[in-house]
């Protein structure tokens, strides 16, 4: 990753002119056909185009962006390691370091770095396990806060630091971990029900294969017939 990573690129935006857009679209189309790009971009020209624009803006290669920009719950999100590397190579700060203190819920992490221009020690906002619990990040099913809390503390502290002192690096995007956590508290805490497909399947069983699936069912078309009084003795004793 070059030191120019966060410098504003001189290249025009892919959206700036019709020609630039057409050109970018061709590149995006080509990129979307290669299996070298991550899954979110394969066969998805629109995602590739967005990645191209991001690469353009931060002055890095499209592949670098694709490797590190993930679509989490519909939001483009940076990998935390990319964000840390971007801060480290921005030329503005000394490499990020992490001050971890306390135990249990009080365990907290502060990301620190020196401002290379002034020599001032910059401290990011602290992140603690108590905060993760209050925000609901910790209790989410499958949460990495439960399995690797120290790493999550550092990642989140780095994200907070960069948002505060180097917002141009993340360009307003969150980290992958934040996007996962945010899904729990902000966007929606519930997955979308998959009812239509499931019900279509049930309906297919009811109208077609259903009779075959039941060993004691009457032969075909029985479900289309009105209820016969003859069925009463078979079911009545069970009911009472």
């Amino acid at each position: 990753m070059s030191k120019e990573l966060v410098k504003i690129s001189a290249a025009p935006s892919v959206y700036s002119t019709g020609d630039a857009f057409d050109q970018a679209q061709r590149v995006a189309k080509m990129l979307s056909t290669t299996s070298m790009v991550p899954k979110d971009y394969q066969g998805n020209v629109a995602n590739c185009l967005v990645a191209l624009e991001m690469a353009n803006r931060v002055g890095t290669s499209p592949l670098m962006v694709m490797q590190n920009l993930h679509i989490i719950h519909g939001r483009p999100s940076w990998s935390a390691t990319y964000l840390i590397a971007a801060v480290n190579t921005s030329g503005k700060f000394s490499p990020l370091r992490f001050q971890v203190t306390g135990e249990g819920d009080a365990r907290q992490c502060v990301a620190v770095a020196k401002d290379l221009a002034t020599g001032e020690l910059l401290e990011g906002p602290p992140v603690s396990i108590a905060m993760a619990k209050k925000e609901g990040w910790f209790s989410k099913t499958g949460s990495k806060w439960q399995t690797m809390p120290d790493l999550m503390l550092r990642y989140r502290a780095a994200a907070f630091f960069s948002r505060l002192y180097a917002p141009e690096v993340a360009m307003g995007l969150h980290t992958v971990e934040e996007a996962y956590d945010a899904e729990y508290t902000e966007i929606s805490s519930r997955p979308k029900p998959a009812a239509p497909d499931f019900v279509s399947n049930l309906n297919a069983q009811i109208s077609g294969n259903f009779a075959d699936k039941l060993p004691d069912a009457e032969p075909e078309h029985q479900d289309a017939e009105p209820a016969e009084p003859a069925t009463e003795p078979a079911t009545e004793p069970d009911l009472i």
């Binding site: 609901g136 209790s139 099913t141 729990y184 508290t185 805490s189 519930r190 997955p191 979308k192 029900p193 998959a194 009812a195 239509p196 499931f198 019900v199 049930l202 069983q205 009811i206 259903f210 699936k213 039941l214 069912a217 479900d223 289309a224 209820a227 069925t231 009463e232 079911t235 009545e236 069970d238 009911l239 009472i240």
Partner: protein, 282 residues
């Protein structure tokens, strides 16, 4: 505490979908129904009894004996209070009083069901049994299991009790209605907030188990001859609609719990609201 229907209803530390419906009317009504220490006892509504017994005949027939006692067809008419307090009751009245005293003594805490209502429930269940989808839907699963959960956004303690949790991963609720046709049941669904139920139950199941139900299905049977049966599922947009509604109710509930204030209707003079569509007809 065993997971019985009575215990489920008795636990007022958690809010249910019925509680949400009452909150939707006003917090004051919720307080009056569930929290007021001096609340009057609620009589069991006939529709509720018929609904319960239909559920049990269909899904939990083993509970029938311990839950219900059926008034025999040849039972004497219940003596009125006027007859009971008469100075010289007739021998028939005396016999009836004695008969009913004996009958009541044997009911214990069981629900008394009129023979005609039981017969109606049994006929509705027969119709459901004859419905093509029933065997597929009620093939494998558990009837009336209480689900306790915390709704994470409001932090409120909630409960629900699906009629049927299928092993195939969907929830099913049995509904008795006067008209099960798509349009009429759709209107019932809106007025009884079945979309709220579908959403609240599905979410509750998810929060408690980590799995989102594959569908929420209503198995609907008409209460009158010919006891026609229909089956509907809640589409995702219906679930979302219900979610928005129940979250509004839960947020109000959380606020009331915190402040201890359970407001009723507005104390201002409000404009009379005639349904909006009428104005569009002018």
């Amino acid at each position: 505490m065993t997971d019985t229907r009575d215990n489920y209803h008795a636990d007022t530390s958690r809010i249910s979908k019925s509680g949400l419906d009452v909150m939707n009317r006003s917090p004051y009504h919720f307080w009056a129904k569930y929290l007021n220490p001096n609340r009057p006892p609620e009589p069991r509504k006939k529709a509720f009894v018929i609904g319960s017994i239909t559920n049990d005949v269909l899904l939990q027939p083993h509970l029938l004996d311990e839950q219900y006692v059926i008034v025999p067809a040849d039972a004497p008419r219940r003596p009125s209070s006027l007859q009971i307090n008469a100075k010289k009751p007739s021998p028939e009245t005396l016999a009836a009083i004695e008969w009913w005293d004996n009958f009541n003594a044997e009911t214990n805490s069981r629900t008394v069901v009129e023979a005609e209502d039981y017969d109606r429930a049994a006929r509705m269940c027969e119709a459901i049994h004859d419905f093509a989808a029933t065997r597929l839907l009620l093939n494998n699963g558990e009837a009336e299991k209480t689900i306790l959960f915390e709704e994470p956004e409001t932090g409120t303690a909630c409960k629900c009790r699906p009629d049927w949790i299928s092993s195939d991963g969907f929830l099913l609720d049995l509904k008795t209605t006067t008209d099960a046709s798509p349009d009429a049941f759709g209107r019932s669904a809106l007025s009884y907030r079945y979309h709220v139920q579908a959403s609240f139950y599905s979410d509750g199941f998810y929060f408690a188990t980590g799995n989102y139900p594959k569908a929420f299905i209503f198995l609907v049977v008409e209460k009158e001859y010919p006891f026609a049966v229909a089956c509907y599922y809640a589409e995702p947009r219906t679930i979302e609609l219900g979610h928005a509604a129940y979250m509004r109710n839960l947020q109000t509930y959380a606020e009331c719990l915190q402040t201890g204030v359970w407001p009723g209707y507005s104390d201002q003079i409000e404009p009379l609201k005639i349904p909006e569509y009428i104005f569009k007809q002018i």
